[in-house]
């Protein structure tokens, strides 16, 4: 049950092991976002950002079985290849773990207060919000009520 907004790097295995202690855990889905080819600076809104992430996680927990979770988002200066974000979900069932993980990532992209400045060779520029991300988040709204996918 961990939400952290931090400048420090993180270790995926450590986080996954931490959330896998429950004996009902059979499935852990996780996601790591990585900086591609452009160095960037990530700005956040201390306090609000953590709260927004917690709300996203609570929304996911009303929809799917989540036994434990870790969400870590970094801020500050990041270089190509650096880890940016981690979402890890432990569940009894893999369909729940995957769905909750993907849901949280889609919402993180559109709801959590982070702003990305890319440092291109020709100068720095703030990244504009992408419609594709809004669409990815919006498709969850068409699920009219909390539902579980086919699962095992």
């Amino acid at each position: 049950m961990k939400v952290s907004v931090q400048s420090d790097d993180f270790d995926l295995s450590t986080e996954v092991i931490d959330i896998s202690m429950n004996t009902r855990t059979g499935a852990v889905a996780s996601f790591v976002g990585v900086v591609r080819d452009i160095p960037m600076t990530l700005e956040h809104y201390p306090g609000m950002t953590e709260n927004a992430i917690k709300k996203i996680v609570e929304e996911a927990r009303t929809r799917w079985q989540v036994l434990d979770y870790a969400v870590i988002h970094r801020y500050g200066d990041l270089q190509p290849g650096d880890q940016i974000v981690l979402v890890a979900i432990a569940s009894s069932h893999r369909a729940d773990a995957f769905a909750a993980c993907q849901f949280i990532m889609d919402y993180l992209k559109t709801q959590a207060p982070f702003w990305k400045k890319e440092h291109h060779p020709e100068g720095a520029r703030w990244v504009n919000a992408l419609e594709a991300d809004d669409e990815a988040a919006a498709r969850w709204k068409s699920l009219k009520q909390p539902q579980r996918l086919v699962q095992k």
Binding site: L42, M48, V85, L108, K116, K117, N128, A129
Partner: protein, 85 residues
Amino acid sequence: MKVKVLLFANLRERIGQSVEVVDIPDSASTVAGLRIHLMQRGGAWQEILSDMKVVRVAVNHDMAAANAPLNPGDEVAFFPPVTGG
């Protein structure tokens, strides 16, 4: 009454500051009222707050609409659409 105004990302850069305590008249005690009050300063304030399509507002860490009321001591943040992860 006084509210705390925060700016983030390109808004922060264009204004050149990240936080300011602003004294607003009682008639400006909504998000929209505060926005108009700040735009009346002209210059970069006028510019960055004129297009609300690309400016989001949060009051005390919750996203807020234009008609949201403001109270003394509130923390009001203006920022662009988020681009996380």
